[in-house]
Amino acid sequence: MIRYTINRILWLIPILICVSFIIFGLLELAPGSIIDTMITEEMTTEDIEILKEKYGMDKPMIYRYGLYMWNLLHGDLGTSQVTGLPIFEMYMSRWPNTLMLSLSSLVVGVLIAIPLGIFAAKYAGTIWDNLTTGFTMLGLSMPAFWLGLLLLIWFAYRIRIFPAGYDGTWKCFVMPVIANGFSMSATITRQTRSAILEVNRKDYLRTARAKGVPERQVTRKHVLANAWIPIITQIGLMTAMTLAGSAVIEAVYSWPGVGYMLVDAISRRDVTMACGTVILTATLYVLILLVVDIIYAVVDPRIRAQYTSGKRKRRTA
């Protein structure tokens, strides 16, 4: 198990190298560079040349990339070419906001989704199930920013309960959490429902009932215990996605999170910033997925056995 975990963490290195290369390459290929966002009307071409030199734009991309990677491998994410501030600090100063928003949305989403999914699975094929499916369809097809804007108009404008902007109190949490949580809950509900329906077909439920397990215990210990795996996968993925920050929700609610950082970095062609943000996000994804896989091992002994490959028991007749 430890070996497995270490193995996965070691995979971070090639992943990050790939990711940084791709982002770096894409931004370099995009027309325009960071200089273009800084030049003003009165500048002459000489000024622009000087700026180019200052930011290393006169050297080939490989040189800049090499320099960046060299720093990266020393654990230095570098500084933003725009602000001059260290990227890690900039990211970390905004990350708690994204974290709070994400975790709250996740909690809300899961609290809605799992009971709803169980409910839909229980009444599968009936009108309740169809209503739930309609609800999840709504959640899946509504773009988050649209719902975000709608909530803004209803609750900040028509009925003034919540503030339209970020003011640091608990009130400004409500709308973005609902907007975010609603779309998350849609996917998780569907996943829960199908996972439970899948397990409901299994024979071991019949065995359990045949030995006299009451229905509630069947649901708890036999159905849910086996249905967790696909549900956990989904929740894990959603956690990773939401922790990466949602640029759209943050724009709508002026939330000072990390999602917008990446968008901003790209429009300013701030390559180090963009790379840095993506690298941090990728690391987050990898770690979260690792945690999800470890949870699998806790929940499902068959997977646990796969991980501890050195200790496989021989099956005896």
Binding site: D36, E42, A164
Partner: protein
């Protein structure tokens, strides 16, 4: 039952397809027909442009003022540091007006008042002697002295690639006579030097602050507000500098923040979460007659233009440009893009820029004449690419496209973002054939240099005329004002005839405030001074 289900399915599919098609319709520009549609009934276009903003009346005494003022910025502010090229943006002056001061203060009417300097003298516009105030302290407690002026000049000269570097590089040397007197000598005479050093984004900063505090030293100035908190790209928080040597603001704390989403911003404004915010022309009518709000407006100096790439074989033919000029109806641009809130520009010159040549005749709208000129060119119906980046320039491009189509010119619009536009329209390296953009103009006539002098980034037309360049060089050292005026008017005439640029309009901009607000100094070049903004609450 089965048939009913099939029927229902078909109906749903039809509804879906129809609703998808409805969405398609909105993408096209609103008006592509020949007949100039009258502007929408609800708007009252400014028949005569609004008067120039005047100095606002002094705020009344004996009333209660709101202690905290909140305004929104038009764009993100990433850093606060006058020497960092990343600071250069449309919002920079708003921030510097709050925190710093210059030696000389340039008023809204382009007259000069003492600020950090008590007086200045020059005989030849080459050597300037400044006497400085002796009672000013920076926000960190350090006294303001000639040494800080020297530091600012030195640091500016180091910061290559920035505007402040350009402006201060013209200073060949300085001599510190004593703590409160300094003599600057320029490399060559420049009649507009006082304007340059009075520009709000080239203020005086403190040596000790920069040297001792690398993180926040750049935020230290002598101005009426002190930065307490700055979150890059989000907000800046200020607290009043109670030791300020000029007029003290009525408010005690100030917040400038950036709200990305316009809907959210307008809701915040209506909910009274903001005291001031910019209002776009399509929203003006909502607030115009609402007593809860005050709408401040002014016409911007900046002129939107259509630039023809003079290096392009087709466009360098004057007949083509004349054809476009006669087919272009810029009032229609005002009506469509700005809802009527703007002035169709007769000339390319800045709206309130000095020495405007009002004798020049704008090109008449005459489609037949335009077609005649077009026939003289080698144009064969091939598509011509127009590049643009900002929302209103994109709309202008679309109007231009529809109008040129009337005489048979096929325009293709390439919409992109700021950085790409910049990269594609570098002097001498322009791929684009036509650029629709906005040109910044100060109150000074020498702004024209940006657009007609070779090697300038703003010269999107790749225009280069040695005669014009010579005239401009002459004007920058001409000390006699009447003669200077003549020179600039001559330049305007030549450029008008050669038509590298088609003027479009000057936008009327609106800053909305809650009832009881006031105190903003509006500058036609958008470098507003918010430092004395107040709000009366009763």
């Amino acid at each position: 039952m089965k048939k009913a289900k099939i029927a229902l399915c078909i109906i749903f599919c039809v509804v879906l397809v129809m609703s998808a098609l409805v969405g398609c319709g909105k993408a096209e520009p609103e008006d592509t027909t020949q007949t100039a549609t009258p502007p929408p009934a609800s708007s009252t276009p400014t028949a005569s442009p609004p008067p120039a903003p005047t100095q606002p009346p002094p705020p009344p005494e004996d009333v209660k003022y709101k202690e905290d003022i909140v305004v929104t910025l038009g764009d993100k502010v990433a850093v606060i540091d006058i020497f960092n090229p990343a600071f250069q943006s449309s919002q920079a002056a708003l921030v510097t007006n709050m925190i710093y001061d210059n030696l000389v203060y340039c008023t809204m009417d382009t007259t000069y008042e003492p600020e950090l300097a008590t007086s200045w003298e020059t005989d030849d516009y080459k050597t300037f002697t400044f006497k400085l105030r002796d009672d000013v302290k920076f926000h960190n407690g350090e006294p303001f002295t000639a040494d800080d002026v020297a530091f600012t000049i030195d640091k500016a000269r180091e910061s290559v690639g920035t505007m402040i570097n350009d402006k201060f590089s013209q200073i060949e040397k300085y001599e510190i006579v004593n703590d409160y007197e300094i003599i600057l000598t320029l490399k060559q005479a420049n009649v507009d030097f006082i304007y340059d050093i009075s520009y709000p984004t080239y203020p005086i900063v403190n040596r000790e602050a920069y040297e001792n505090d690398p993180d926040k030293g750049a935020w230290v100035g002598t101005g009426p507000w002190i930065v307490t908190d700055f979150s890059s790209n989000d907000y800046i928080k200020f607290v009043r500098n109670d030791n300020y040597f000029k007029e003290l603001p009525k408010a005690k704390t100030f917040t400038m923040k950036y709200v990305a989403e316009e809907t959210a911003r307008m809701i915040m404004f209506e909910n009274d979460e903001l005291d001031f915010t910019g209002v776009s022309s399509d929203k003006v009518d909502i607030y115009r007659n609402d007593d809860r709000f005050i709408l401040n407006s002014y016409v911007m100096n900046n002129t939107n233009f259509v630039a023809f790439n003079m290096n392009d074989p087709l466009l360098s033919d004057i007949n083509f440009r004349l054809a476009c000029a006669h087919a272009f109806n810029n009032q229609e641009c005002v009506d469509i893009t700005l809802n009527g809130y703007g002035v169709a520009a007769p000339t390319y010159w800045g709206y309130r820029t000095q020495y405007k040549n009002t004798d020049l005749q704008p090109y008449t709208y005459d489609l037949e004449l335009a077609k005649e000129y077009l026939a003289k060119t080698s144009y064969n119906g091939e598509p011509i690419e127009v590049i643009c980046a900002m929302p209103h320039t994109i709309k202008n491009a679309q109007v231009f496209q529809s109008q040129m189509a009337l005489i048979g010119i096929n325009i293709e619009i390439f919409e992109t973002d700021g950085a790409t536009l910049s990269a594609n329209t570098m002097w001498g390296n322009t791929d684009a054939q036509i650029v629709v953009n906005s040109g910044a103009w100060s109150g000074l006539a020498n702004s024209i240099r940006n657009y007609v002098y070779p090697n300038n980034n703003a010269n999107k037309a790749n225009y280069s005329n040695p005669e014009v360049s010579a005239l401009l060089d002459q004007a920058s050292v001409e000390t006699d004002e009447a003669k200077r005026e003549q020179l600039y008017k001559q330049v305007q005439a030549i450029v008008h005839e050669e038509l590298p640029y088609l003027p479009i309009f000057n936008m009327e901009l609106f800053i909305g405030g809650q009832a009881g607000t006031g105190g903003i100094l509006f500058f036609a070049n958008n470098n507003h001074d918010y430092s004395l903004a107040y709000r009366i609450i009763d």
